[in-house]
Amino acid sequence: MFIIKCPYCGERDHSEFNYGGEAHLVRPKQPTELSDDQWAEYLFMRKNIKGLQYERWNHSHGCRRWFNVSRDTSTDKIHSVYKIGEKPSK
């Protein structure tokens, strides 16, 4: 029941958004050159942080844009919101 501030639309109820998992996981440019281990690391392994997490959200019932959020998973408090390609403000 968060309120998320979509960087394109402003504050909206959490029910308008879809969660997209850990942010800043870059899909390898050359997957075929990775070992099975390395590929599994990208595909399945997650930090699953308790504390401040950088994560992706999609304003699926709004502008449909993806963006990043930093949120404390131990309190659900959102610290900042930033666009794809941007760096989080500390």
Partner: protein, 1001 residues
């Protein structure tokens, strides 16, 4: 016996409006404004229920939401009966019919009370220690009887005829609780121009001030009732504020999101309800929240403190002042604070005999005890009630003096006759909502309560829920904190008169003259857990308060420990020698008080349970007797039985027609994504397993989409409409997720690609016409398309017109027949469909549903994602290696195809199966073995994914995935069913027209 306990005057009831109601089959009278509890008490009825475990007689204990004992069932028809309602909250209306619960045959004579005799051998947690032998008796005997004995009221057995509603609301300031603090805050906020919502769970505002003694409490010279009336009038006239009574805040979530339930009609007689909404769920998002939720009076914990006729002192005052009811004629008090004295004075002034006040304190020099003394009321200082007598109603209390350190009782035992014992153990701030919101509590060691310490949201607590007591303190705090919280400069001064209070002393568990094992000092009345149960739990090593709670069930009854929890904690802290602040509390879980499922669900029942998606031709299907299949939210025409035709016969007929004359299918539910942009081809290269760059404009291609784990995710035909313009189709079920996934990759992984996606599923109606006559039909339906094979070959598309309306026609086939698909703006769908039908009539055109479609494609061995695949199947497993590009550098899922397990040669692979008996149809989902054993377990090597009787081949056919299937062609396998084993032979997956001649027939 009619209202003999009604005082001759006073109260906020309407004495001119008499109301009759039934309780346990007897008719009583009360007045408009009474609760069931007050009306029963006015008629001298205390005994209303039996306890959960020992079936001890229990009476009305409190006057509100905290009531643990007086639970009743409302009797109406089977759809409208309500279990477990609190008599203290039910407002009476003409025709109300309530009964006691959890007793048989009656509350007065309850056979279950035999449990009380066994109580010595059934302490807390006894069930964990017994009923284990013999093991097979647990479910059928022991548990059966436990279940029968447990439970309180009875569930309705018919559908609820009432309606419920939801509303979303936003406000600047939400104030929870309209007691003095809440009213003061509301006035300040509303006057400052804020948009305010003020809610209170009770019908009347003013909280406990409503029944405060008017001689001792005044605001600006007004009596409590006068001030409440004036303040409420002011508020009602202020357009900034919305005020809701009978509205209970159930849950306080993060980001100031609160769920509350408003009761709209439960207090009305049936004739006045007029089918109005019963309850409304409010979902409120507030900028700021002011909690003024008040406090709950505590009982005293001593031997046999649970008898009918033992009541909270504040409740007795409320019954007297608000309802004009005296709860007894000869009243004793047992207290540790001054509040009880206000009740005593109130009742004394109303002419009721107060025989004694037992006070555990040495002395109090405060105003009210002094006044009692003056009135000649006997006060026993430094004394305690140690026992009570009277089975169904108290008639006697035993009193002894307390030792200096309060650890024991001393001196002579005094017996005092009484018909009512008012207990007052101080007040516990109602911090439920505060902690739900994430706030942290601190314990006040001197005043013995937890109070709000640190909040995490835009929120304050004021009044007694913040641990502030005494009218003067409450009002000045409410003013000051609200002013500061809302950044308001100045507020009006209020002159408050309030009695000077004395100290408060606390003993969690009162000493007794008996050995403790022989006492029954109830902590949780409803669940029958006693101080001894708590001690037992601690003795057995249940150290954490949560353990004690769970082991003894203290605080887990329908009042969720509103009365019990503080004392349970206190007793634990005393016994374990732990400071209460370190012990902490158990978690306060929502809801604050129980809320109906109906209110939580609102209108989302019946046909509003979920959206129904219908195709543009839905009405036609309905008129033509289609049976529908649910696919996601879509209703798809499943088959079209004529008169008495069975499903099997209909599907056989439809499937036959599609291959011999012409079939028509509504394919509108398939997902459609419009893809445009200069990098569209490259985009498709990356999302599909096959190559797209060379697809010519006007051509169609089948594509298979994987997840990045290499497993088949979706499939469909994509058509190149123009250089930079494609239209992709997806499965019906996958439409939304595919769109989401593509958008995700586009925005986050490949932002450099110039590609734009639009979902156009609902924009087009899709009509598929197949069969040998399909071309002739299409030629007549559309204009300006040359259907010659040269001009319009298989897997290509043309723009066309149907009666001046633009359409797209694709020549693609999911049945293996010559087949065309018309895509036209959705609102023309039905008329074009009808046109196809009328043009096709001479060719025997036959509508076929999804079932026949599945059969037809199975004859051709085409897969259905989600039927042949289940998230564990790769394209290689499907023997579709041909569609996996080896040349492409990467596509979604490619890397995963080269992991050690996905490269295994003996994975489950896609095959056909033929039964030895061509009439035998396999069951979809049936498991396949290579070797039949006489009994399980057997090694399963695969399962049947699709199975039909093919009317075109006159034999049964099946598709399956089988371990190492590629190498098993021609081999015999077995399908062990429950009663028989079916032999099958592994075959090719294409059963009909392997060469694909029919596509051009």
């Amino acid at each position: 016996m009619s209202n003999e306990y009604r005082l001759s005057s006073g109260g906020q009831i309407n004495r001119s409006e008499s109301i009759s109601f039934k309780f346990n089959g007897r008719t009583f009278h009360g007045y408009k404004g009474d609760t069931l509890a007050s009306a029963l008490l006015a008629n001298g009825i205390h005994l209303v229920g039996r306890s959960f475990k020992y079936h001890r007689p229990r009476g009305i204990f409190s006057s509100g939401v905290e009531e643990p004992n007086a639970l009743v069932q409302i009797i109406k028809d089977q759809g409208k009966t309500d279990p477990n309602l609190r008599a203290t909250q039910i407002e009476i209306y003409e025709g109300l019919n309530a009964t006691s619960q959890n007793c048989w045959p009656s509350v007065n004579f309850d056979l279950g009370s035999i449990n009380n005799l066994f109580s010595p051998i059934i302490p807390a947690g006894f069930y964990y220690k017994t009923f284990m032998w013999p093991a097979n008796l647990w479910e059928n005997v022991y548990e059966y009887f436990i279940r029968r004995a447990a439970g309180l009221g009875k569930s309705p057995t018919k559908k609820d005829p009432d309606n419920y509603d939801h509303i979303y609301y936003h406000c600047e300031v939400l104030i929870v609780g309209a007691g003095p603090a809440g009213l003061v805050a509301a006035k300040i906020a509303a006057n400052a121009g804020k948009k305010v919502l003020l809610v209170d769970e009770r019908p009347n505002f003013g909280g406990n001030l409503n029944f405060s003694n008017k001689d001792y409490n005044k605001i600006n010279g007004l009596t409590p009732l006068e001030w409440i009336k004036k303040t409420c009038l002011d508020l009602e006239n202020n357009k900034n504020i919305k005020i809701l009574n009978r509205t209970s805040v159930a849950a306080y979530h993060n980001y100031n999101y609160l769920i509350m339930v408003q009761n709209l009609t439960d207090h009305l007689a049936d004739k006045d309800k007029n089918d109005q909404i019963r309850q409304r769920l409010w979902k409120v998002r507030a900028k700021k929240v002011i909690l003024a939720t008040g406090s709950i009076e505590r009982p005293m914990i001593f031997d046999c403190n649970d008898r009918p006729g033992i009541m909270l002192s504040s409740a007795v005052r409320k019954y007297a002042n608000t309802y004009g009811v005296k709860c007894g004629n000869n009243i004793s008090f047992f207290t540790n604070n001054d509040d009880a004295y206000e009740t005593a004075i109130t009742l004394h002034n109303k002419g009721v005999k107060i025989n004694s006040i037992i006070d555990i304190r040495e002395k109090s020099n405060a105003d009210l005890p002094k006044k009692c003394d003056e009135l000649g009321i006997k006060i026993y200082w430094k004394s305690a009630v140690i026992y009570t007598e009277g089975y169904k109603k108290i008639n006697n209390i035993h009193v002894m003096s307390l030792s200096k350190d309060n650890s024991s009782v001393i001196g002579n035992k005094l017996k005092i006759n009484c018909d009512l014992l008012c207990v007052s153990g101080g007040y516990t701030p109602a911090v439920h909502l505060f902690t739900q919101s994430g706030g942290k509590l601190e314990y006040n060691e001197k005043k013995h309560y937890f109070f709000p310490k640190k909040n995490t949201l835009y929120q304050i607590s004021i009044g007694s829920c913040n641990g502030t007591f005494g009218l003067k303190n409450i009002i000045s705090e409410a003013q000051e904190k609200t002013r500061e919280f809302l950044s308001i400069k100045e507020v009006d001064r209020l002159d408050v008169l309030t009695p000077k209070g004395g100290d408060f002393e606390n003993i969690w568990l009162l000493p007794s003259n008996k050995i403790s094992g022989k006492t029954k000092s109830f902590v949780d009345y409803q669940n029958d857990s006693t101080a001894n149960d708590i001690k037992l739990a601690l003795r057995e090593g249940f150290k954490s308060i949560e353990h004690v709670k769970r082991y003894t069930t203290t605080g887990m009854a329908t009042d969720q420990g509103k009365i019990a929890n503080m004392h349970a904690l206190g007793i634990i802290s005393e016994i374990t020698n732990t400071k209460l602040g370190e012990l902490g509390t158990t978690t306060f879980r929502p809801p604050y008080s129980p809320i109906t499922f109906g209110a939580l669900v609102g209108r989302n029942v019946g046909k509003f349970f979920d959206i129904t998606r219908k195709t543009p031709m839905h009405d036609w299907h309905e008129k033509n007797n289609a049976k529908f299949e649910d696919v996601g939210q879509w209703k798809r025409a499943w088959y079209y039985p004529s008169d008495k035709e069975s499903m099997y016969d209909a599907v056989q007929r439809e499937s036959k027609a599609a291959r011999t004359s012409a079939g028509i299918l509504d394919a509108s539910t398939l997902g459609k994504i419009d893809i445009q942009g200069s990098d569209a081809s490259e985009f498709l290269n990356r999302v599909y397993t096959n190559a797209w760059s060379k697809l010519a404009i006007g051509k169609c291609r089948y594509g298979l989409m994987l997840n990045d784990d290499g497993m088949v995710y979706d499939d469909g035909v994509t058509t190149r409409l123009d250089e930079n313009h494609y239209i992709m189709t997806t499965t019906t079920g996958g439409a939304a997720t595919v769109m989401g996934k593509l958008e995700d990759f586009l925005q986050t992984e490949w932002p450099e690609l110039k590609v734009y996606l639009t979902s156009v599923t609902d924009h087009f109606a899709t009509i598929s016409v197949c069969g040998p006559h399909s071309k002739k039909i299409l030629e007549k339906v559309t204009q300006s398309i040359d259907y010659s094979d040269d001009n319009f070959p298989h897997m290509s598309f043309k723009h066309g017109l149907i009666d001046k309306i633009k359409c797209r026609v694709m020549r693609i086939s999911f049945t293996g027949e010559l087949s065309y698909e018309i895509n036209i703006q959705a609102n023309y769908g039905q008329s074009v469909w009808e046109k196809c039908m009328s043009v096709g009539r001479e060719y025997g055109i036959t509508p076929y549903g999804t079932e026949a479609m599945h059969l037809l494609r199975a004859e051709k061995g085409f897969i259905i994602v989600g039927q042949e695949t289940d998230g564990t199947v790769t394209p290689v497993d499907l023997q579709m290696d041909w569609i996996v590009s080896k040349k492409k550098y990467d596509f979604i899922g490619k890397r995963s195809l080269y992991r050690s397990d996905t490269m295994r040669e003996d994975r489950k692979q896609y095959v056909g199966l033929l039964t030895n008996d061509p009439k035998e149809i396999l069951e979809e989902g049936a498991q396949i073995v290579a070797e039949v054993k006489s009994k399980p377990p057997m090694d399963m090597i695969g399962h049947v994914t699709s199975s039909y009787y093919s009317p075109n081949l006159n034999k049964s056919i099946a598709l399956a995935v089988v371990k190492n299937g590629k190498k098993l062609k021609g081999k015999r396998l077995y399908i062990p069913m429950k009663n028989k084993t079916i032999e099958v032979t592994v075959s090719d997956t294409i059963f009909l027209d392997k060469e694909g001649k029919r596509l051009n027939a």
